[in-house]
Amino acid sequence: MLEDSGYTGVVIGEAVDTFGGAKGEDKARAFEVYGYAFMASRAP
């Protein structure tokens, strides 16, 4: 979606266990939900 929206050079960071130990952990585990950092540049 980023590239379709006019961005280039998309970089995605390592997965982070955002919900580990929180009340929402079970739901996160069920759908393998993790946090990620994303970076991209606006195409000229």
Binding site: S5, Y7, V16, A22, A37
Partner: protein, 201 residues
């Protein structure tokens, strides 16, 4: 509501405001997500930068990742923080860009805006301001920003393509978007995707 959206954008905004109003005024309540300093440590924020902030700047932090982990901001840069909440990432950004940079936080929840503005005033950060607005319609001029940051916000927007288009509008050509958000490795059932209660809970 456009046919290609899973939920009504305004109904979702209403639920998001309710949830994050609670995070602003009662940050130590039991949420389905972590908050505050423990969350910042879990997500890999620089301890010295977080330790330097007062409790009210950190306690309502509810991000899902670290938008500064792939690249630290550069002194002098102009930054927009989409969905700035109580201001935690904006305060970190203000420290990285320094007095010669500028940071504009945009949020739609009045209680979050009040908290972030009070904290910014107490910290005396002249390079930082908070504006009321939506991720899809930000009160920022075309091409103003060198960098747009966001943390755990885009997943709570019904029309993600509209958000990315708006971010592109406020970025200068060649500017960068650095955001953190959640992604699922297993497919979510279609009926769950259309259940608005599951978006914020």
């Amino acid at each position: 509501m456009p046919d290609d959206l899973l939920v009504d954008p305004e109904a979702l905004r209403s639920q998001v405001r309710d949830k994050y109003r609670e995070v602003a005024v009662d940050p130590h309540a039991a949420f389905h997500f972590h908050t505050g300093r423990a969350l910042a440590a879990r997500l890999g924020y620089e301890g010295t930068a977080v330790d330097a902030l007062p409790e009210r700047a950190v306690e309502s932090f509810a991000g899902v990742g670290n938008p500064f982990s792939l690249r630290r901001l550069t002194p002098g840069e102009r930054v927009v923080d989409v969905g700035s909440g109580a201001g935690f990432d904006s305060f970190i950004a203000a420290g990285q860009v320094g007095a010669g940079g500028q940071v504009v936080g945009v949020d739609m929840t009045p209680e979050m805006l009040a908290k972030s503005r009070d904290t910014a005033k107490a910290l005396g950060l002249g390079q930082l301001e908070f504006r009321e607005g939506l991720a899809e319609q930000m009160p920022v001029e075309d091409g103003w920003a060198d960098v747009v940051i966001s943390n755990g916000v885009i997943n709570l927007c019904a029309d993600k393509r509209a958000v990315f288009t708006e971010i592109r509008r406020v970025l200068r050509p060649g500017g960068r978007v650095q955001f953190a958000d959640i992604a699922n490795g297993r497919p979510v059932p279609p009926e769950a995707l259309r259940d608005i209660d599951l978006w914020t809970g």
